[in-house]
């Protein structure tokens, strides 16, 4: 992508094509995990049509059973090293350009499943930075089905983000829901087809509302940052190594340099 860095700096996010073969592999791993659950009946669906299965997941699994199933899949994918490798490879070329090639990766890849009309799977208006995450990181968000309208997430533009950020940090008049409703016109739902991925800054306000479409959304998200850039910024949190991040790759000169310091620092 030619103007990747300029687009990111201008908008706070980019939507870019991912490696579809690897994205299919991620979907397959999740599908197999779903299939291994004996309570789930997939006889009306063809295995090769994972999009159809995921989009119609609310017809397959009851809402009350969703969270335990999601946790079960979450635990499995996070034990699978290959899953994490595929996730990184899908975004690698973009991360190289936006962040760098010596990286830390969030230890857990998150899985969201948002069924139509589910009021309990909402992430109200927020910036990840408010939860102590590093402004040096990016969030990589991968829909596993087409995401559009309320099946997707809402996102704002940098100029509105600045204004609303000030309001959100300094007001005691609104809840985040009220703040979103008051400023709705400054947000739009991102349309992202399966095969594309979203990469965004944790400084940008975003969130979701009740999914009013007729389809279920499956998506994954994970955070990456330059290995050597600051982890805790302005406040101390747990968003660091080894609590939240793990070093994904350490270059030889980083090892050599820091081991040199380590050896002589106590002398």
């Amino acid at each position: 992508m030619k103007n990747l860095d300029k687009d990111f700096e201008k908008n706070g996010f980019v939507i870019v094509p991912g490696n579809k073969v690897l994205l299919e592999k991620l979907r397959k791993i999740i599908f197999l995990s779903v299939k291994s659950n004996k309570k789930i009946n997939l006889k009306n669906y063809k295995e090769e049509n994972i999009s159809k299965i995921f989009n119609n997941f609310h017809r397959i699994v009851k809402l009350k059973d969703l969270n335990s199933l999601r946790f079960n899949i979450y635990n499995k994918i996070n034990l699978d090293q290959q899953f994490s490798e595929y996730f990184y490879k899908i975004s690698k070329d973009y991360l190289d350009k936006l962040v760098g090639n010596e990286l830390s990766m969030q230890k857990k890849i998150n899985l969201s499943i948002q069924m139509p009309n589910d009021k309990d799977s909402l992430l109200d208006l927020h910036s990840d930075i408010y939860a102590g995450e590093s402004p040096f990181q990016v969030v990589v968000w991968m829909p596993l089905v087409d995401a559009y309208d309320t099946k997707s997430m809402f996102f704002t533009k940098p100029k509105y983000n600045k204004k609303m950020n000030e309001q959100l940090l300094n007001t005691d008049k609104f809840t985040t829901k009220e703040m979103y409703n008051k400023n709705k016109k400054y947000f739009k739902f991102l349309n992202i087809k399966f095969g594309d991925i979203l990469i965004f800054s944790p400084l940008m306000l975003h969130g979701n509302t009740i999914n009013k479409t007729k389809e279920t959304r499956f998506s994954l998200n994970c955070r990456f940052k330059s290995l050597l850039s600051p982890y805790d910024v302005m406040v101390k949190s747990h968003r660091n190594i080894p609590n939240f991040y793990r070093p994904l790759n350490i270059k030889p000169l980083t090892k050599i340099g820091f081991n040199y310091i380590k050896k002589f620092q106590n002398k």
Partner: protein, 151 residues
């Protein structure tokens, strides 16, 4: 018969986070039983006031009859490089293993020492300090990028 593993509690901050002993116990018990398939034997707490890690050395010694020691992170090993070297040496001699839950690493033979030492790099000031302001030089550099901001 299932092997016995000891937990090692250390209440010093782990990159800013102090895990209460109850939480350390839950994490270690879960790891030993579900990940190692072993038996959770005991979990003494390191003496915070001591100059050297006396509790850890006791667990490694032959006096403590366990197959290995489990702790939250390699960041809880002694800060001093020489003291760590001595811990590694004693561990290898006693034929015990050491497991670091959050790091997803283990020390099971001599070759693993380098892996652990490479990870301990991230316990240095560069990685654990909270960045609260730019240096004069950073401020100067960033002047030309002042428009690239979302807040």
């Amino acid at each position: 018969m299932r092997k016995k593993f000891a937990g090692y509690i250390n209440l010093k901050p782990l990159n800013g986070v102090i895990y209460p002993s109850s939480i350390q116990n839950i994490l270690m018990k879960n790891f030993i039983e579900n990940h190692l398939g072993g038996m959770f034997y005991l979990s003494p707490t390191e003496v915070l006031q001591a100059k050297y890690s006396i509790t850890l050395k006791t667990l490694i010694s032959k006096e403590t009859n366990v197959s290995g020691i489990v702790m939250l992170s390699s960041f809880l090993l002694p800060n001093n490089y020489k003291e760590r070297e001595s811990v590694y040496k004693r561990l290898i001699i006693s034929k015990k293993k050491m497991f670091f839950i959050l790091d997803e690493l283990s020390l099971e033979n001599k070759q693993d020492i380098e892996k652990i030492e490479d990870f301990i790099i991230f316990n240095s000031k560069h990685f654990i300090d909270t960045k609260k302001k730019l240096s004069a030089y950073e401020s100067l550099i960033m002047k030309q990028y002042k428009d690239v901001s979302f807040v």
